[in-house]
């Protein structure tokens, strides 16, 4: 059992009770700070370095073949706490050589950045690794409509990310060789 020791505060001396020496030393500190190097980041011209794993604006990415990865499973829409995501699912037509085996793709994909709270759940839940919160953090617009990112804008911001899975590529190879019945 540890015994609690009550530390008595040392009584203040007369000079301490007037506070004046303390005030003087405080003044000295602030004065010396006048001439120290400033730490301000001149924001629009200088940009901060973004740490890894930063959660910026959510974007849609394409796979290395430049194909749409999102299959509109709507899990992000489901998991989104502020209901910022709105997806209209759509078919991929059968005559689309590249992607017909994927079957489904979003017809429209909207993220309302006025609602988004940058929680990153959408990125976490995405089974196709199609949605990423990237480094862009400054977002502004003149109207509410402008801040609703549609599919086109989301892909424009997202770009292409390296992909280790090539899921649909494998699927296609399987189809072409091997186990087709």
């Amino acid at each position: 059992m540890i015994k609690t020791v009550v530390m008595e505060r040392k009584p203040l001396s007369l000079s301490e009770r007037t506070y004046l020496p303390q005030i003087a030393s405080g003044l000295k500190t602030t004065f010396s700070n006048l001439f120290k190097k400033k730490v301000t980041l001149q924001y629009p011209e200088q940009r901060p370095s973004i740490p890894r794993g930063y959660r910026g604006v959510p974007t849609l990415v394409k796979d290395p073949n430049g194909r749409e990865k999102c299959v509109s499973c709507q899990l992000c829409e489901f998991v989104c706490p502020p209901k910022a995501i709105r997806i209209t699912p759509g078919h991929i037509p059968e005559d689309d050589e590249e992607r017909s085996h994927v079957e489904k793709a979003p017809e429209e994909f909207e993220i309302d950045m006025l609602r988004c709270i940058y929680c990153g759940y959408c990125e976490e839940v995405c089974p196709e690794e199609a949605i990423f919160l990237q480094e862009n953090y400054s977002l502004s617009g003149y109207s509410r409509e402008e801040l609703v990112n549609d599919k086109e804008k989301l892909y424009e911001m997202g770009g292409t990310l390296p992909d280790k899975h090539f899921k649909w590529d494998k699927k296609k190879t399987d189809e072409e060789q091997g186990n087709a019945h």
Binding site: V71, S72, Q74
Partner: protein, 575 residues
């Protein structure tokens, strides 16, 4: 399943617990009664047992008897010895018998399930993100509950045809099929349209339509409902919405007097699909394809979304007071509808009594398909009879009204949701008559009407229907109606109140039913709204049974007259 049939109970020992179950049922049902889930794919309570998925494997044993003497074999403690069957048995194909020992979660049963799950998943594609079944997929659920959680399969998965068109409404993805054969059995046994089958063997086995045929009967979408995986999907609902977003509201199919129980599935005020709701006294677990399409009329172009007086959009207050003005005149006739709910028909009858109007009721009839599409194509013809709105069985036209119009005996017409011009009335007849139209969609009558009171569809309001079995069934609002519209029964109530010079009280279905329950000569006497069970209430038709109904024998239904003459044949359509 009828209550009056005495069911013998037998005692079995389920997971070491002594329980009583009805005699003759299989182990899946028996376990379900006592809260134990036995996972299964091919078994369906309304179909014959196939026993080909092997998912429902359980451990089973019987008390041992000596083969020769039939004496019980006792162990050293003096208890009867249990003869455990060395291999697991399928729950669906094994019926209970007295003293039976069943273990649904013994290590053997668990191990069997895990093995079956692994086999089923060997070739099943990981399509869940794009698969419409995701969220209501048995394979997903059981893989979570009973699967081993990882795959030892390293080879390439089978590739089979995807996006195959089975029929006008059904799309097949063969890769996802687990060959449970539910759809095949449904087509053979219920729809009586034997078009589906398996071809090839082993891993090449594939579900397909027989050559030259397609799955095009009016019950094809039930195969989608019973498919435990995403192999069969509705072409219409395909990729429209994920099922976990959908809100389910119990409703009644308004297609015909069969009154199939349904679930209306909607998201944010928009209906995406209608699925059947199990009711063993009405529709089992089925419904028609045509009935699933009815929701499309809710948002159609021809929908009436605002009240009108003299062709101009107006408020409800104005429209009602104008209607009251018109109805205060002499020579009024009312055209009721078999599509209206019981409550609306009752209020219409009240209105007729107040205005001394005669009610004409046209019927809508078609072919009877012997299942769930009856010859009477309205949901509530018997409601009109039960509320006493009409006494006679309706005919398919309005000739008496036409005659009266010609005679000039009718000056004002209140039409509820019927198109007069489709029922033998001509513009010539209506020259001098004022028309008040209460309805949901634009038709020739609503275009001519002086007052249009826009109403709500069956999906936007609550109420009750009486089906061909004289079964009183409730339906509930699934989606909000267009802005500014109120349920028809409230509109009719306002008109009725204002006609008698009172201010309309706010009215709920509960309080309206207190009034309806007071009808003296009706079979609705004494019924309270809240006491109607969710799966319906059988009414005693009384004298109404003697009318000549048009429906023929069908699923869970035999015409009452036929029943009296033909007592020998039990339940004609059921097997």
């Amino acid at each position: 399943m009828s209550a009056n049939v005495k069911v013998d109970m037998v005692t079995i020992i389920l997971n070491g617990e002594e329980v009583e179950v009805p005699d003759g049922i299989n182990l899946i049902e028996a376990a379900q009664i006592h809260g134990r889930e036995v996972p299964h794919y091919c078994y369906h309570p309304k179909l014959t047992v196939a026993g080909n998925c092997r998912m429902c494997l359980v451990e089973m044993g019987m008390p041992m008897r000596d083969r020769g003497t039939g004496e019980p074999v006792l162990d050293s403690d003096g208890n009867q010895k249990i003869g455990w069957i060395p291999k697991p048995v399928i729950g669906c194909g094994t019926n209970v018998s007295p003293g039976m020992r069943v273990n649904t979660d013994s290590p053997l049963a668990k191990d069997s399930r895990e093995g079956i799950m692994e086999f089923l998943l060997v070739n099943h594609p990981l399509d869940c993100p794009i698969c419409d079944q995701a969220g209501e997929c048995r394979l997903q659920e059981f893989a979570m509950d009973y699967g081993r959680g990882y795959s030892r399969f390293v080879e390439r998965k089978n590739v089979k045809p995807k996006r195959t068109r089975l029929g006008p409404k059904v799309t097949l993805d063969d890769e996802r099929c687990i060959l449970c054969s539910r759809c095949i059995r449904f087509c053979q046994e219920v729809a009586k349209d034997d078009v589906l089958g398996f071809v090839d063997r082993g891993s090449y086995s594939t579900l397909t339509c027989f050559p030259g045929k397609e799955l095009s009967n009016n019950y094809s979408l039930n195969t989608v409902d019973i498919c435990p995986v995403g192999a069969l999907t509705s072409s219409d609902f395909r990729f429209k919405m994920r099922v976990w977003f959908l809100k389910e509201s119990p409703s009644i199919c308004s297609e015909s007097s069969a009154g199939a129980n349904t679930l209306v599935e909607s998201r944010e005020g928009q209906i995406y699909r209608i699925t059947p709701r199990r009711n063993d006294s009405v529709n089992d677990t089925w419904m028609t394809d045509s009935g699933r399409e009815l929701f499309k009329k809710v948002k159609s172009e021809s929908r009436l979304t605002a009240h009108r007086t003299n062709g101009c959009v107006d408020t409800l207050d104005a429209a009602v007071s104008f209607s009251v003005e018109l109805l205060s005149n002499e020579k009024i006739a009312i055209v009721g509808s078999c599509n209206s709910s019981v409550e609306e028909q009752y209020l219409l009858r009240k209105l007729a009594d107040q205005t001394k109007a005669k009610i004409h009721l046209p019927g809508h009839f078609g072919e009877d398909d012997g299942l769930l599409l009856s010859a009477d194509r309205t949901p509530n013809l018997r409601g009109a009879l039960a509320t006493g709105m009409v006494k006679k069985y309706p005919s398919d036209n309005l000739k008496p009204l036409a005659l009266q119009l010609v005679k000039g005996a009718v000056k004002t017409l209140l039409v509820v949701n019927e198109d007069l011009f489709a029922l033998g009335i001509t513009k010539e007849h209506l020259k001098k008559a004022k028309i008040i139209y209460v309805g949901t969609h634009v038709n020739e009558t609503s275009k001519m009407a002086d007052v249009v009171l826009a109403g709500l569809t069956v999906f936007e309001k609550s109420g009750t229907f009486i089906n061909r079995n004289f079964r009183l069934q409730k339906f509930f609002q699934a989606v909000p109606g267009p802005a500014g519209l109120v349920p028809d029964f409230l509109v009719l109530n306002r008109i009725a109140s204002e006609l008698s010079g009172k201010v309309a009280e706010s009215l709920g279905l509960e309080s309206l039913w207190k009034e309806i329950g007071k009808l003296r000569t009706s079979c609705l006497k004494g019924i309270a709204y809240r006491e109607i069970p969710s799966d319906g209430l059988d009414l005693d038709p009384g004298k109404l049974a003697d009318l000549s109904y048009v429906e023929g024998p069908a699923l869970n239904f035999s015409p009452i007259k036929a029943k009296t003459t033909d007592k020998m044949k039990p339940k004609a359509a059921k097997d």
